[in-house]
C-alpha cells in the first residue's frame, strides 16, 4: 500500500547529510581541542621554565642576603621585614607549584573530550553506512528492520563509548588534592 511506503531515498539523504555535516563540525572541534592542548602545554612549559629561573635567582639572592646579614648588624625591624618577605615568597612558590599542575588536569579532560569526539564521528559514520544499506525497492518491513538495527547499533556504540571513558578528573576547585596514607 502507498500509505505504508517509507521515503527511503529522502531518508538516506538525510542520514548522509547528518553524518557529513556532523563529521565536519566534529573535525573542527577536534582540531581546536588539539590546538588548545598544544598552546596550553607550550604556555605552561614556558611559565614553568620562567618560574624555575625566578626561583633560582631568588634563592641565590636570599643566600647573598644571609651572608650580608651575618656581616652586618641590621635593625630588628628590617630583619623582621626580610623574614616576612622570605615567608611570603615561600608561600607564593607553593601556590605557583600547585597552580602549574592544572595543565596536567586540563590536558586529561581535553584528551577525554577528543576521545568522545572520535567516538561521535564513528557513530555518524555508522549512521551513513546503515543508510546506504537501505534500498527503495525493499519492503516496508525490511526497511523498518534496518532502521531498528541502526538504532540498536547506535545505542550499543554509545554505551561502549561512555563505558570506555571513565572520568579521571573530578577537581572543582583550585586547591590541592586530598592525601590518605594506608
Amino acid at each position: 500500500m502507498q500509505s505504508e511506503t517509507i521515503p527511503v531515498e529522502e531518508l538516506r539523504q538525510l542520514l548522509a547529510g547528518v553524518s557529513d555535516h556532523g563529521t565536519q563540525h566534529l573535525l573542527e572541534v577536534e582540531a581546536d581541542l588539539m590546538q588548545t592542548t598544544y598552546l596550553l602545554s607550550e604556555a605552561i612549559e614556558k611559565l614553568g621554565a620562567c618560574f624555575m629561573s625566578v626561583h633560582e635567582a631568588v634563592t641565590a639572592q636570599q643566600q647573598e642576603l644571609d651572608l650580608l646579614l651575618q656581616q652586618t648588624q641590621l635593625p630588628a625591624e628590617q630583619q623582621q621585614k626580610l623574614l616576612q618577605y622570605r615567608e611570603h615568597i615561600a608561600k607564593e612558590v607553593n601556590t605557583a607549584v600547585t597552580g602549574l599542575q592544572f595543565q596536567d588536569l586540563t590536558s586529561q579532560l581535553i584528551a577525554r573530550t577528543i576521545k568522545r569526539v572520535n567516538g561521535l564521528k564513528e557513530l555518524l559514520s555508522a549512521l551513513a553506512t546503515h543508510g546506504d544499506s537501505m534500498d527503495s525497492e525493499q519492503e516496508h518491513q525490511e526497511i523498518a528492520r534496518l532502521l531498528q538495527e541502526m538504532n540498536q547499533s547506535l545505542n550499543s556504540r554509545s554505551v561502549e563509548l561512555s563505558g570506555g571513558l571513565r572520568k579521571a578528573v573530578d577537581q572543582h576547585h583550585m586547591g590541592s588534592g586530598e592525601i590518605e596514607l594506608f
Binding site: T98, D104, L105, Q108, E180, F182
Partner: protein
C-alpha cells in the same frame, strides 16, 4: 646521603614540579615517563620511595606497583600514588596492589614533603 625518590608521570610539567619540590627538600629525584620506564629505572637502582601516577601510556601505575611488589628488593619500599583519580574504588585497588598512600593531584609542595618525610624520613 640524600634519599632517592623515583617519580613516575607521563606529564613533563608534573614531573618537573615534583622534582623541584623534592629536590628543594634535599631528596634526589629520578624521573620516569611512564610505568614501563619506571620499572626499568627501579631495576637499575633500588630507590627509597616510589611516587607514581596512575593513568599513563605503556604501563599504568597499578601495574607498576604490582610489578614492583613482585621484586624482592621492592617488597618493603614505600610506594605512593599521585594521581587525579580520587574514587574509593581506585584507592581500594591501589591499596590491594601494594600502595602505601594516595595523593590526589594537584599536590601542595609542603604537604607532599610532609608526607614523604613521614614515610621515609
Amino acid at each position: 646521603m640524600a634519599k632517592t625518590i623515583l617519580a613516575v608521570d607521563d606529564s613533563g610539567s608534573l614531573r618537573q614540579m615534583v622534582a623541584f619540590s623534592l629536590t628543594a627538600a634535599g631528596y634526589q629525584v629520578v624521573q620516569a615517563v611512564d610505568g614501563q620506564d619506571g620499572l626499568n629505572k627501579a631495576r637499575d637502582q633500588v630507590v627509597d620511595l616510589v611516587l607514581t601516577d596512575q593513568n599513563m601510556p605503556n604501563m599504568d601505575g597499578l601495574t607498576l606497583i604490582k610489578s614492583l611488589r613482585g621484586m624482592s628488593s621492592y617488597q618493603k619500599v614505600p610506594i605512593l600514588m599521585l594521581t587525579t583519580e580520587s574514587s574509593d574504588e581506585m584507592k581500594a585497588k591501589g591499596r590491594a596492589a601494594g600502595a602505601n598512600g594516595w595523593l590526589v593531584k594537584p599536590f601542595d609542595p609542603k604537604r607532599l614533603i610532609d608526607v614523604v618525610q613521614k614515610v621515609i624520613g
